[in-house]
């Protein structure tokens, strides 16, 4: 069994413990995912302060909703990222267009990389995913990024890129399909 798979089993156990009110288990889960989730939040929201607020909300939600986690439907990593991103996108849509400008600006600045992460097994997974993304044609990658990190809908992406909606849908489907194929069996192990 790989280290990553062991990690997944541990995460599932942590979520069960959290569901039964184990505070230390939540602290462990937080320690494990804070860096990647916070990086994701800063990228989406373009503000450390907003990102810290949402990170806190996410873990309070994990605390209250850990019992809803169903390991048959997905991995803890997917559940956490989906929860985090959906909160962030909600906030982004609340903040509206003004914040989006700031977000785009902030994305040009390199973030503060965490030393903690460099030594972990996750840095290997990052490389795999980043390589897969780099292999996508630029227009597909851009379409995925606009949806994923800027919270734009397909119609909004079409307007922003001045492309027909059908083209955006095609690029999105092609990009995601390619990503899934490239990552293929590795998907089982990652996340």
């Amino acid at each position: 069994m790989s280290g990553v798979q062991t990690e997944q089993i541990l995460d599932v156990e942590l979520l069960h413990a959290i569901a039964s009110g184990d505070e230390a288990a939540l602290a462990r889960l937080y320690d494990q995912y804070r860096v990647i989730l916070f990086g994701l939040l800063v990228r989406i929201l373009g503000s450390r302060e907003e990102a810290e607020d949402i990170l806190q909300e996410v873990f309070l939600q994990v605390w209250r909703r850990a019992a809803d986690f169903d390991e048959k439907r997905g991995k803890p990593f997917t559940w956490l990222v989906t929860l985090t991103r959906s909160r962030a996108i909600d906030r982004l849509r609340q903040l509206g267009a003004r914040q989006r400008l700031a977000t785009s600006a902030a994305q040009d600045q390199p973030g503060e990389a965490s030393d903690a992460l460099k030594d972990t097994v996750r840095s290997e997974q990052r490389e795999i995913v980043q390589r897969a993304l780099a292999e996508l044609p630029e227009d597909q990658r851009r379409t995925l990024q606009l949806a994923y990190f800027e919270g734009l809908t397909q119609a909004e992406i079409a307007a922003k890129l001045d492309s027909p909606l059908g083209t955006v849908k095609t690029r999105m489907r092609a990009g995601m399909t390619k990503l899934r194929t490239t990552l293929g069996t590795q998907l089982e192990a990652i996340g």
């Binding site: 990647i36 990086g39 309070l60 994923y148 919270g151 809908t153 992406i157 999105m172 399909t177």
Partner: protein, 286 residues
């Protein structure tokens, strides 16, 4: 236009990226509730989408976030002061509202015949009886109206109390979720072993205290908060408790007490004093 199963497959990828507009997203979620096949497939796409998180540069959050989360879940794990307080409000509110306003109204019955047309020696007597009955009915209605008004007044006052409680809870929540805010527990001393309190304050010293289980303060007395640095107690404000021994207070933590002060609560003359004279009921010191 209704969508086919194949149409939903088209929406799956966009849904995993939250790129559907609101109407399509709603339709798709409704379909997922009923279609296990699409659900399984959608979970796969969600897993692929989650991997995109790796594209963001990992960043270390402030250690304060961890502290705040753990403080919040710790408060959540024990029966919290505010939820108990709100439960007691709800409970108090339920009882009086069970009185059914208007349920005892007596129907006003119209006489079957026109009494004026009946020529009878008993006419005058019947008319008097009717008048008396009418007067009694009016009196009963007036009384019911008055009690209904009292009931309404009572309910509005309870509503306003509940609203105040809610506003208070929102303030507490806003305070404990402000970046940099801290929470400290105060435990009951030998004088009040059943008492318990929590003080939350932000980096500007704006503080809220919530206490429960305190004995009723005798007439002319009130509880007072103290900030103790070393051996120097600095006076805080005074507060009263309700009949259940719950009380709350907003105060400003003195700048000198922002780091490492012990919080304590004593029983003092109602106006408050400059240095403590009464017994300590609650303290954050071990």
């Amino acid at each position: 236009m209704s969508m086919t199963h194949e149409n939903y497959k088209e929406l799956m990828i966009a849904s995993a990226l939250s790129a559907l507009d609101a109407a399509d997203a709603r339709d798709f979620q409704a379909h997922l509730e009923t279609c296990a096949e699409c659900r399984a497939e959608a979970n796969q796409w969600d897993a692929t989408a989650a991997l995109l998180a790796f594209e963001a540069t990992p960043i270390e959050p402030s250690p304060l976030v961890r502290e705040r989360i753990l403080a919040a879940i710790h408060a959540d794990n024990r029966p919290s002061l505010s939820s108990q307080a709100s439960q007691s409000v709800q409970h108090d509110q339920r009882e009086p509202s069970q009185g059914r306003i208007g349920s005892k109204v007596i129907p006003f019955e119209r006489p079957e015949k026109n009494v004026r047309s009946a020529v009878s020696p008993y006419y005058a007597i019947a008319a008097s009886v009717a008048l008396v009955a009418l007067a009694i009915s009016l009196f009963v209605i007036w009384q019911q109206n008055r009690s209904a008004k009292n009931e309404v007044a009572k309910l509005s006052s309870e509503l306003s109390e509940t609203q105040q409680q809610l506003a208070h809870e929102r303030e507490v929540l806003a305070l404990i979720t402000t970046p940099g805010s801290r929470m400290t527990e105060l435990a009951g001393t030998n004088v009040a072993p059943g008492a318990h309190a929590m003080i939350a304050y932000d980096k500007n010293g704006h503080a809220m205290l919530m206490a429960k289980g305190l004995p009723a303060a005798p007439a002319g007395k009130a509880y007072q908060l103290w900030y103790i640095m070393g051996s120097k107690p600095m006076p805080g404000r005074v507060f009263a408790t309700d009949t259940n021994g719950n009380g709350s207070l907003q105060d400003q933590v003195p700048a000198e007490a922002m780091n490492g002060a012990v919080f304590a609560i004593t029983l003092e003359p109602a106006g408050g004093v400059q240095s403590p004279t009464g017994a300590i009921y609650l303290s954050s010191g071990a």
